[in-house]
């Protein structure tokens, strides 16, 4: 569980990134952390991972203060950064070197993810393509079985089949004990797997809702024309006409169009 209370953070004192920011995330969820460029998503992830220190307020991750960098905390959190670098070793050597540092590491799980992602243990990490290295890092992260997984733009660089494999693997491997935070701009890649949406803008949470509640409140559909449509909260043109969000009035539920929802939130239509 992550509990952020009255967090303040800045790189330059004159332009604070977070001011009196609070957020609570429970285990057993896959959270989509969304926001425009410069909204503070990566900084928030760094603060959660203990890579930056809050100026004021507190962060508690499963009872630990991240910036203390307690080894037991570090053994139970894994971050897949947007940009990464590997030593000049094979996948097998990397796994041999790093996996023992994570007490819950599951080698069998890793082998099965490798098989899904078509990764070969004998390959040299720095000779793989960017996408393959990303797949390796995701496979390693999921195999650590850490209670908190932080994924920053995990689908960047993945090809189309790999994106759907990623969704499938993530959903099947995450347990109720774990909390996964995914920060991304590629909202379409994750809209079927997340069960909580958090949108931040200018250092504040402007929207947070579980997907169940979203679908109870809002209805997403594509219509040929807006004529005759009432109570349209937000609409965008698309090749087939218009994608719209309207208040949910019947028991019928739609699947969440995360991109449409995000644009509606940013445009303050919701």
């Amino acid at each position: 569980m992550i509990k952020i209370s009255n967090l303040s953070f800045y790189y330059k004192k004159k332009s604070p990134l977070f001011n009196d920011f609070s957020l609570e995330l429970e285990n057993g969820r896959i959270v989509g952390l969304l926001g425009k460029n410069g909204a503070g998503k990566s900084t928030l992830l760094n603060l959660i991972a203990g890579l930056s220190q809050p100026k004021e307020g507190s962060i508690a991750v499963n009872g630990f203060t991240p910036f203390d960098r307690n080894p037991n905390f570090l053994a139970d959190i894994y971050m897949v950064p947007e940009e990464f670098s590997f030593p000049h070793v094979s996948i097998a050597t990397y796994v041999k070197a790093f996996s023992p540092l994570y007490p819950s590491f599951d080698l069998e799980k890793m082998d099965s993810i490798f098989a899904e992602f078509e990764l070969n243990s004998s390959s040299n990490l720095n000779k793989l393509s960017h996408g393959q290295r990303k797949k390796f890092l995701i496979a390693f992260a999921l195999s650590t079985n850490c209670k908190v997984l932080v994924l920053d733009e995990p689908t960047n660089g993945l090809d189309i089949p790999s994106k759907s494999q990623f969704r499938k693997i993530l959903v099947s491997s995450v347990t109720d004990e774990q909390l996964v935070i995914i920060s991304t701009h590629q909202v379409k890649d994750i809209d079927t797997i997340i069960d909580k949406v958090v949108v931040i803008d200018e250092g504040a949470i402007i929207y947070q809702e579980n997907t169940e509640e979203i679908t109870q409140k809002l209805y997403f559909e594509t219509v040929a024309t807006l004529a005759g449509k009432e109570n349209v909260l937000h609409h965008e043109q698309c090749p087939m006409g218009h994608k719209i969000i309207v208040p949910a009035t019947t028991n019928e539920e739609s699947s969440v169009d995360l991109e449409l929802l995000f644009n509606a939130i940013i445009n303050k239509s919701i």
Binding site: L51, R69, P71, P81, S85, P87, A97
Partner: protein
Amino acid sequence: MNSNMFFSFNRFYLLLRNDMLLNHKKYLLTIAGAFILGFIVLYTSMPGYVHKGDFRFVFDAQRYTTAFGMCLLGLLAFVGSAFSELSTKIKTSNYLMLPASTFEKILSQFVIYVLAGSAIFVIVFWVDAHLARYAILSNLKSVYNEDLGPDKSKYIEVFKYSMLLIKNKYPAISYWNWFEGLAIIFGMFSVGMYFFSVKIFFKKLRLIKSAISLIAVVYLGAVVMTLLSHIFYPETKGFDISNALDYKLPNGLFNFEMWLYLSAYCVSLFIIPFGYFKLKEKQL
């Protein structure tokens, strides 16, 4: 407070193992490079020709000390390559998130780069010194191409580490005493520790910042002496550092030497704890 938070033998072993698995090729290449360079330094320092019967210019303790000093720079460069994971923002992030305590991270680098590095350096230098001596002696001739006979081996002494420590016949190092000797050892250790932890202290422009801070330490000494001069020698005018440098302590020691010795003794005492807290508080 749980001591496991600071140190766990198992975690420390895993951290060392991790480093060895990832960097063993680099270390082996470094040892091979050190072996070759050490041999070249010693071989080129030793004479190829001598005057028969003239034992005034024997390759002795002083010359071995000079070669040792030159090779020591190589060890310093190796020690300075510690904490290579702090070279970029991405690597720093990975390193900080490695499941080990700050103490274990510093200790593992210290064990590999300072303890193991120094131990291997000592062995490599000893082997190089003996190999270079045998290589030179096998071809050693007099300047007139005479055979040097059974005295040949006397022109190049057999290297022993005690040579570097004991009093010898040359005045340059004949004033050896415990205070100065320990100051030299502590001084070397301090400089080594400075290079060891420089990546923790500075994010960018490490070389320039290191040079500036080392110069600053020396100048700080001069400033302190100037201040003390004003207190104890009222005739001192302004920043008359040249006079301050000339002041001697009752036993004949220049006060600047005293400052260097004290710096040598003290710096090593706080540079590692300072590095520990800098690493502990390091942010992206």
